[in-house]
């Protein structure tokens, strides 16, 4: 059941990205270009998403199980560390270079756009590289498989 609802959530998420125009890197870059002719649309996408999300997370926070009985897994960490900040810097630079973040990249790849497929392949390579480095680091620290972050 949760596999099916997972598919539906991905589908709705992807449809939202197409409707909002965020599957189009040129539009995302229009938002990131404060120094040129600025397109504020992305702020409205975030606003709409957060308005709905805030209600859902307020409900979720009070529960230990989902409505389908799955464990409620909300990140507990509140620390702002170097990994968070430096990782976000790298991500922001990559986002600004091409106008793609992970979701829109996958949706545009689903449209059969060759350039999006190239972006997604490179993104997967980057994630695999991270995985290798982390595995080596946790092995060196004597904690096989103990990765530092939570699934998000």
């Amino acid at each position: 059941m949760t596999v099916f609802t997972s598919f539906l959530a991905g589908l709705a998420f992807g449809l939202g990205l197409i409707v909002s125009g965020m599957a189009n890197p040129a539009k995302v870059l229009g938002f990131l270009d404060l120094g040129g002719r600025w397109d504020p649309s992305l702020a409205f996408v975030m606003g709409g998403a957060i308005a709905v999300g805030a209600v859902a997370f307020a409900v979720a926070r009070r529960r230990t199980r989902s409505f389908l009985g799955a464990a409620m897994r909300l990140p507990a960490s509140r620390t702002i560390d170097r990994r968070l900040v430096l990782g976000s810097v790298l991500f922001g630079i990559g986002w600004g270079v091409a106008g793609f973040c992970p979701g829109p990249g996958l949706v545009a790849a689903g449209m059969g756009e060759v350039k999006a497929l190239v972006f997604v392949a490179a993104m997967l390579a980057g994630m695999a590289g991270y995985e290798l480095v982390e595995r080596r680091r946790s092995a060196a620290a004597g904690m096989p498989g103990a990765a530092a972050d939570t699934a998000r």
Binding site: P25, M72, G92, F100, M123, M127, G129, E131
Partner: protein, 144 residues
């Protein structure tokens, strides 16, 4: 700063945003998880038994979204101006960066801000700031 009025689409942006929020809401209320795309995809590269199918299903939903959209209308073709070298560099940076930061625009931006997570607020401020600076540098200083 001048606003690009012809490009500005507040209503479809808001409607699409509500749909994105509804997807994240559904995911946390039914599956008990954060709809963070970099984490969902990244977890596939660290496969754990019983933890793979739902991740693949979510990604399949994202990839199938254009086909579902096409049932109603032809999807608007994305305009991808970046060249191949830039796309590879961008992909690597996005892949590594989002994993180190434990999240991207969806996990930190949408879900994290909805939860009022201070970590996500910091991450979102940093990646948006880096994005603004990168575009400013590329378009207005380097003329790329």
């Amino acid at each position: 700063m001048t606003i690009d009025w012809p490009a500005f689409t507040p209503w479809t942006a808001l409607a699409g945003g509500v749909l994105v929020g509804a997807a994240a809401a559904m995911f946390v209320l039914l599956n008990g998880r954060i709809a963070g795309i970099s984490g969902i995809v990244g977890g596939l590269l660290r496969p754990v038994r019983g933890d793979v199918a739902w991740r693949l299903a979510f990604v399949a939903g994202l990839v199938a979204a254009p086909m579902a959209y096409a049932a109603f209308a032809q999807w608007p073709r994305p305009q991808i101006d970046a060249g191949y070298v830039a796309l590879v560099a961008a992909g690597l940076l996005v892949g590594v960066g989002t994993r180190y930061a434990s999240g991207c625009t969806s996990g930190h931006g949408v879900c994290g801000l909805s939860r009022l997570s201070p970590r996500s607020l910091a991450a979102t401020a940093v990646f948006m700031g880096a994005g603004f600076l990168t575009v400013f540098l590329m378009r207005h200083l380097l003329g790329l």
